[in-house]
């Protein structure tokens, strides 16, 4: 169980956010770049769920898109089962695409409203040429619908006939139709109500057990992540500041940002735990702070933090990019 299915090494993505050429000439502006993802490394073992958490603008979705090959990386590499993911290499990508699938955030935007459910679910089979004859595909669609908790009769309906939770089930059935091993879930439940979210999370866990799936799970909701993940990566302004075992991270976070994020989660249990006063917001990613991106908001910042980005060091629960991680204090 410990051979990595996906390895991401020093993954970087830079976006050019410059003004148009003429404006730059007239206003004497420099070109501007945004480092959306900055040297992120992690690996995911087979059958495991790795979660990426972070606030908006931290680079979660950019990583998801690069992992499935929807977006080219500016630097670093992604290796899926020995095969490099590179959207430019179309031949190599064709071989690996059916093994990687994605579930998107909004089931209202990700399903074509003019297609019947059976066509939506069969589309990956059609494009990968799976389940050859028509009849086998129809049967497979029915099987998939039942697998995700809908009924075979739903195949003839259109997406608008379903509620948000049911649509997300259809999106899951579509992702499963090419028999993938690895699914990237980008905020799969954040558009849903809590009671529906519980149904979808339970379904995803059941499917993982049944089909031996590996998930890259992206969310901003720490309690959802806590429920789903084996390991968690915490992103801040494009940098992976901590990567640790899920249970341990919640018990003893090592990076001050992970600590702050955990502190900010509202306390449903009403334990009356004391709360550290939070301060500041995520800085503008076009002009990030020098050194460690978190230093302006950090309560234990030292001069070194302003000068350079801390290297990744081993902690008792994983890795963290910090000069003063919790266990050394």
């Amino acid at each position: 169980m410990s051979d990595p299915l996906l390895q991401v090494k020093d993954l970087t993505r830079i976006f050019d956010v410059s003004k148009p050429w003429l404006n730059r000439v007239i206003e004497r502006d420099e070109k501007q770049y945004l480092r959306a993802v900055d040297e992120v490394s992690f690996s995911i073992n087979k059958g495991e769920t790795f979660a990426l958490v972070g606030e908006s603008g931290s680079g979660k979705s950019t990583i998801a898109k690069m992992v499935v090959g929807l977006l080219a990386a500016s630097g670093g590499e992604i290796v899926f089962d020995g095969q490099a993911i590179n959207p430019a290499d179309t031949k190599a990508m064709a071989a690996v695409r059916s093994r990687l699938q994605m579930i998107f955030q909004s089931p209202f935007a990700s399903l074509n409203p003019r297609w019947k459910v059976k066509d939506i679910i069969a589309e990956p089979m059609v494009s990968f040429g799976l389940y050859g004859e028509g009849n086998a595909r129809v049967k497979r669609v029915e099987e998939l619908l039942e697998l995700v908790g809908l009924s075979a009769a739903d195949a003839a309906k259109f997406p608008h006939e379903f509620s948000g939770g049911q649509r997300q089930r259809i999106a899951i059935a579509r992702a499963l139709s090419s028999n993938p091993e690895f699914i990237v879930c980008d905020e799969p439940t954040s558009a849903l109500d809590v009671s529906v979210q519980a149904q979808i999370l339970n379904l995803m866990r059941d499917l993982q057990d049944e089909l031996g799936l590996t998930y890259l799970f992206i969310s901003h909701d720490l309690s959802v992540v806590r429920h789903m993940a084996n390991r968690i990566g915490v992103l801040y302004l494009g940098a992976l500041v901590e990567n640790a075992d899920a249970k341990e991270l919640f018990l003893r976070p090592q990076h001050p940002y992970s600590k702050m994020l955990l502190d900010a989660v509202p306390d449903v249990e009403m334990t009356g735990r004391p709360r550290v006063e939070l301060s500041g917001e995520i800085p503008n990613p076009i002009t990030p702070p020098s050194g460690c991106p978190f230093h302006p908001r950090c309560s234990i910042m030292v001069d070194e933090c302003k000068a350079k980005m801390p290297p990744s060091i081993e902690t008792p629960i994983g890795e963290a990019k910090c000069f003063r991680p919790e266990f050394q204090l």
Binding site: E55, G165, D193, A198, Q199, S223, R226, F250, P266, M270
Partner: protein, 334 residues
């Protein structure tokens, strides 16, 4: 704790509030006979899933229901004065002055063409009738209070020059500008990141308690409610399912729907492998089951639930719309 209704008149009293929309398929009831009281300085959480009628209840109180929707029945009293049948001109004097509002998306509740100063000064002058100079001083003081750094300088900025969290602080300042008795906050933190959410909730809580203003906090996030509210009202399909002190509702839910809702929230230190799930989904408003609206999904359903709509029954410090808490039923079981 004393029953707020036996004390002097509550700040806000909502009785059998019904909001209806005429549609081609017939009359659609978005809020169905909802009643509650709100005492001075109290924070009431209104929770429920999408379509439960939370926002509609808030809009009805502040008189902002968009036609063709209308209040189809019931009364709303603010400090003993009836406010649900006021003319638009009279309602405008209540809105802002007596009831402030904080909406979900700060970008849409601020006018992008005016500076923060212009918007705040206009509000303060309209409601309090002070000079422009004094209004500006008050505006700066307010921005300072909601935690905007360098308020005297930033007041002349436009909304787009602020970040999301800062904009929501401005909206809170705007809602509190005329010193209202009641603030209705409709999903004030839903558009924000968790670390910013915590700050905004703190600001809202602190300022309202300093001014002894009551708050109706509308949200789908039980965590926010647990940290902020004194009492909670749980809505389901436009009806009140349960209302009671926050601790009772969250830790000892009585209505089977509330129980399911609480169980479906993943816990931050949970050890459970599966979440409790309520089967099915909330009914469409065009197709609400007879009897209790929750009966087709309820694990504890019995025959009366399908026939008769449950009344709000007192149970401990809560009120619950569930036949399980009917005296006859309880006697029969024991």
């Amino acid at each position: 704790m004393s029953d707020p209704r036996t004390d002097k008149a509550p700040l806000l009293s909502v009785r059998d509030l019904t909001v209806q929309f005429p549609t081609r398929g017939g009359l659609l009831t978005a809020v169905d006979q909802v009643s509650f009281d709100l005492a001075d300085g109290e924070v009431l959480g209104l929770v429920g899933e999408s379509g439960a009628g939370k926002s509609m209840t808030g809009s009805a109180i502040i008189g902002l229901i968009e036609p063709p929707g209308r209040i189809g029945g019931g009364t709303i009293h603010l400090r003993g004065d009836r406010i649900d049948n006021l003319s638009p001109a009279e309602m405008r004097r209540v809105r802002g002055r007596k009831v402030g509002m904080v909406f979900q998306d700060p970008l849409t509740s601020l006018n992008p063409l005016f500076t923060i100063a212009e918007q705040l000064i206009e509000t303060i002058q309209t409601h309090l009738g002070v000079s422009k100079k004094e209004a500006r001083e008050r505006a700066v003081a307010l921005l300072d209070e909601v935690g905007i750094p360098a308020a005297s300088r930033r007041i002349d900025d436009y909304p787009h020059q602020f970040s999301g969290g800062m904009r929501q602080r401005v909206v809170i300042a705007l809602a509190l500008a005329a010193e209202p008795d009641l603030v209705i906050a409709d999903e004030p933190t839903t558009a924000l990141d968790v670390s910013v959410q915590a700050q905004i909730i703190d600001v809202l809580k602190r300022l309202c308690s300093e001014r002894n203003a009551s708050v109706i906090l509308i949200t789908h996030d039980m965590g926010v409610i647990a940290e902020t509210a004194d009492r909670v009202a749980v809505l389901y399909a436009g009806r009140l399912a349960e209302i009671g002190p926050v601790r009772d509702v969250i830790q000892n839910a009585k209505h089977p729907y509330t129980e399911g809702l609480m169980g479906s929230i993943p816990s931050i230190k949970g050890t459970e492998s599966r979440l409790v799930q309520i089967p099915g989904a909330m009914p469409r408003l065009t197709n609400i089951p007879t009897g209790c609206a929750f009966n087709p999904r309820c694990p504890k359903v019995f025959d009366r639930c399908e026939k008769e709509r449950p009344a709000l029954l007192r149970e401990g410090q809560s009120e619950v719309a569930c036949w399980l808490y009917d005296e006859e039923r309880k006697e029969a079981v024991t």
